[in-house]
């Protein structure tokens, strides 16, 4: 087994962009990383952000299903307000196409992967993420279900207990509330209550978030509802690059993973690498390094933050922007390193204020890094209201860039 790991590690060094870092004492294998060459001086910081070891990738049996040339950890580095990409080659696509590419690669690679959801097969997916799949993979792997979220989520969990790897698509994340019992009680807990006998390698994915006047029941943000279920991992994608990487990693993970997509981000365009890659599921992404304040965000709010950052930079501030990506568990290592540097934190999220991701994150940072803080942790979240239909009112429920600018100014002015 060890020989196979070393062979795989060796073949992973494929392109000229891969820079092997010095092997740490705790790992037998060199940490491989995909970085853009101009940032060699940033390598130190990048190493801090890379915690997932090659051992965790190669360690579990299902990973040995004959993959080569996969870099486990591709980290976004400083590139003016865009996420990482290779400078040579690569292809441009939209976020939903990146999700589709990732899903297709995993369906090709592993015959136990299947997709279950409403209109995922012959309709091609309500957001076209599974377009063309049923012709390629057949009816038995792209399962069109009747409208019964509770039972098809339960079915997918039952199938996962035998070793299949279903990807459950909720047409809208909000519909998964109907399957809450199955997700909380069965999905999250079966591995524990069976004393480790069963694993539930499902991926639950779907678009959520406040869209364009979709109304209260179709603008749900479920991150806060699922965050206290033990046993679930939650990730939120925000760029085509991390969408594809997280999708692939989530499918390969033995844990149940909820992948939160956002309705408004499906048409984002970006260039992504041609070679196969995955992203680490519990790692945060450094979007923009800075010195003055750490802004933690995820999903759609990342773009509001980067927009606000342009204003802030013009005003003379140097914000460090981190896309936390992993909503459960938090990447406290990356966040902590950043807090120790800047001493100020602002969380910008789309979740509700009460009991949201920001609330938990605030508590976690306070608990661990209180003495590194020079100011109270700021948290900008959506208002605790059902999302109204009216356009201007809807805009008021979510955090807008001017509010972010004002909050940063307020936090940085405290001495």
């Amino acid at each position: 087994m060890a020989m196979a790991w070393q062979a795989l590690a060796a073949t992973a060094v494929t392109t000229g962009n891969v820079v092997p870092l010095a092997a740490s004492s705790s790992s037998r294998f060199p940490r491989l990383q995909l970085v853009t060459p101009i940032l060699s001086h940033e390598l130190g910081r990048c190493r801090l952000a890379t915690r997932s070891s090659a051992t965790s990738y190669f360690g579990t049996a299902p990973q040995n299903r004959g993959t080569t040339n996969v870099t486990t950890n591709a980290v976004a580095t400083k590139e003016a307000f865009t996420s990482s990409a290779t400078t040579t080659g690569g292809h441009e696509l939209l976020l939903f196409e990146a999700l589709r590419e990732g899903l297709e690669e995993e369906l090709d690679r592993d015959p136990t992967v299947c997709v279950i959801g409403e209109d995922v097969g012959h309709y091609g997916g309500s957001y076209k993420v599974t377009k063309g799949f049923v012709e390629k993979f057949g009816d038995w792997r792209l399962l069109d279900t009747p409208i019964c979220e509770n039972s098809f989520t339960g079915m997918a969990i039952g199938a996962a207990m035998t070793g299949l790897r279903p990807v459950i698509e909720g047409m809208n994340m909000g519909f998964l509330l109907l399957a809450y019992n199955q997700i909380a009680n069965n999905c999250g807990m079966l591995h524990y209550t069976s004393g480790g006998q069963f694993t539930i390698p499902v991926v639950i994915r779907g678009p959520g978030g406040v869209g364009r006047q979709l109304g209260a029941e179709h603008s749900q943000r479920l991150e806060s509802y699922f965050q206290s279920v033990p046993g679930l991992q939650m990730v939120a994608c925000s760029t085509p690059y991390n969408a594809k990487g997280l999708m692939k990693a989530a499918i390969r993970s033995e844990n149940p993973v909820i992948l939160f997509e956002h309705v408004l981000l499906y048409n984002l365009k970006e260039k992504i690498p041609d070679e196969e890659y995955t992203c680490c599921l519990e790692e945060a992404e450094l979007v923009r390094p800075g010195e003055d304040i750490t802004i933690l965000t995820y999903s759609r709010m990342r773009y509001h933050v980067t927009q606000a950052a342009k204003t802030l930079v013009n005003k003379g501030y140097d914000p460090e922007i981190i896309d936390i990506r992993s909503l459960k568990p938090f990447d406290m290592y990356t966040i902590g390193q950043s807090v120790k540097k800047t001493h100020r934190v602002l969380i910008v999220e789309e979740c509700m204020r009460t009991g949201g991701i920001g609330a938990s994150l605030r508590a976690a940072i306070m608990e661990n890094f209180f003495h590194d803080l020079d100011a109270p942790i700021g948290c900008l979240s959506s208002q605790d209201v059902p999302t109204p239909y009216s356009g201007p009112l809807e805009e008021l429920t979510v955090v807008q860039p001017p509010q972010i600018v004002a909050a940063v100014e307020q936090l940085c002015s405290r001495e």
């Binding site: 299902p62 006998q197 991992q233």
Partner: protein
């Protein structure tokens, strides 16, 4: 209400009277008159020769043909039925006293009275088949290959339990034996069962899934959702309703407009079976399995009864009379039925059966003693099995600075 209770009691006793009456009509043949042994049995020694037994209570079929009432069995099988059911009965009684002496805490749902369902099912199933059930799972775990030590240790929350002490009474699993639990939420196991059947069809395993639920769970919406999908995709799943006539404290007639649970599948064929008769259960499951492997889902309703209350916190006598309980115990008890059969067929003598009983008792006592000695789980087990290691998943302690557990 009292009138209705008496009606219920009367109908249960009437059913049992039909079974044991010697002056029954020709369509209902009493046990003792219907046995056609293929060979004469020897009094001494337990022969494994095949024989056929006619079960008295006819099957009620819905959109299918009822199987024959003549069940093929053997002396060996009947003896194993007796021994297994007796062991299960002793186990449940032992669990009762363990609960009362506070070794078992929380909820404890006992299966005594319903053993025939579990044992009869296993006679027609093999390792490729999967079973998933609700919280009344101790005996089913045993039937699927679990050991008494595992069950007792799990009930007491000890390390040697089948779920390492972390599951408890309602969460017993046996992966190798094809037993998928052990579920606390009523009805939530029915879609899981449909999923297991889906996996069997996807992976082309030649087996069926038995998804068990009770008369109380039969009113859950997700059951109908699961039946719909199972019928649409022709999944090899048998929906087994263990109708013990009470959903906790609510009698069947008070919770279901149509208590004919075997017909509730509508387009899914079904059958109602006397669940206190091991052989009838065996025949029904055999028939259902053959049907399901070819045609898709099937519903089986087993008419059974539990002597204990819903759980150990329920005395079981506030919503039904003690006369009813003792009536069923006298007329329809599954172990007594097999005992009478064994004695009348002269497969075993009274003293042979007493020996088997003694063996079972000592097995149970031994396992119980051993389980009491089993240690509590280590503190590190609190954090184990939350996540499986893969793509960097680690569990941190409360301070989140240090990695407390590297996941197994």
């Amino acid at each position: 209400m009292a009138q209705q209770l008496c009606h219920r009691t009367r109908s249960l006793l009437r059913l049992s009277a039909i079974v044991s009456s010697s002056s029954a009509s020709s369509s209902l043949i009493p046990l003792s008159d219907s046995i056609i042994p293929r060979q004469q049995q020897q009094r001494a020694g337990f022969a494994a020769d095949a024989l056929t037994v006619d079960v008295p209570v006819p099957f009620k079929a819905h959109k299918c043909d009822a199987p024959s009432l003549s069940v093929e069995t053997s002396a060996q099988e009947l003896l194993s039925f007796f021994k297994t059911m007796f062991t299960m009965r002793r186990m449940e009684i032992a669990a009762d006293s363990l609960y009362k002496s506070k070794f078992i805490r929380g909820f404890c749902h006992l299966y005594d009275g319903q053993e025939a369902v579990c044992v009869g099912m296993e006679a027609s199933l093999n390792q490729k088949d999967c079973i998933i059930t609700a919280y009344r799972d101790h005996c089913i775990h045993l039937g699927r290959g679990g050991t008494l030590l595992e069950v007792f240790s799990e009930l007491m929350g000890r390390k040697d339990g089948c779920s390492l002490g972390k599951g408890g009474s309602m969460h017993m699993y046996n992966k190798k034996g094809g037993f998928f639990g052990g579920n606390g939420i009523v009805g939530a196991q029915t879609p899981l069962g449909a999923g297991l059947a889906f996996a069997q069809k996807y992976l082309k395993v030649d087996g069926v899934t038995l998804t068990m639920y009770g008369d109380g769970a039969a009113n859950q919406g997700q059951l109908f959702e699961a039946m719909n999908i199972a019928a649409l995709w022709s999944l090899p799943v048998i929906f087994v309703c263990e109708n013990n006539h009470y959903g906790m404290g609510t009698a069947e007639w008070r919770s279901a407009k149509s208590p004919e649970y075997y017909k509730r599948g509508d387009y899914v064929p079904g059958m109602k079976v006397d669940g206190m008769d091991c052989l009838a259960v065996k025949q029904a499951v055999k028939y259902a399995k053959e049907y399901t492997l070819k045609n898709g889902p099937f519903v089986l309703e087993f008419d059974t009864y539990r002597y204990h209350g819903h759980s150990m916190s329920d005395p079981g006598s506030t919503y039904r009379t003690r006369d009813e309980i003792s009536g069923v115990r006298q007329e329809r008890d599954p172990i007594e039925r097999i005992r009478k059969l064994l004695l009348s067929l002269e497969i075993a003598s009274v003293s042979d059966l007493k020996t088997l009983e003694k063996e079972a008792k000592s097995e149970v006592d031994e396992a119980l003693a051993k389980a009491k000695e089993s240690p509590q789980p280590d503190t590190s087990e609190l954090f184990s099995h939350i996540w499986v290691k893969g793509y960097g998943a680690e569990a941190y302690g409360a301070d989140r600075k240090e990695v407390v557990v590297k996941l197994p």
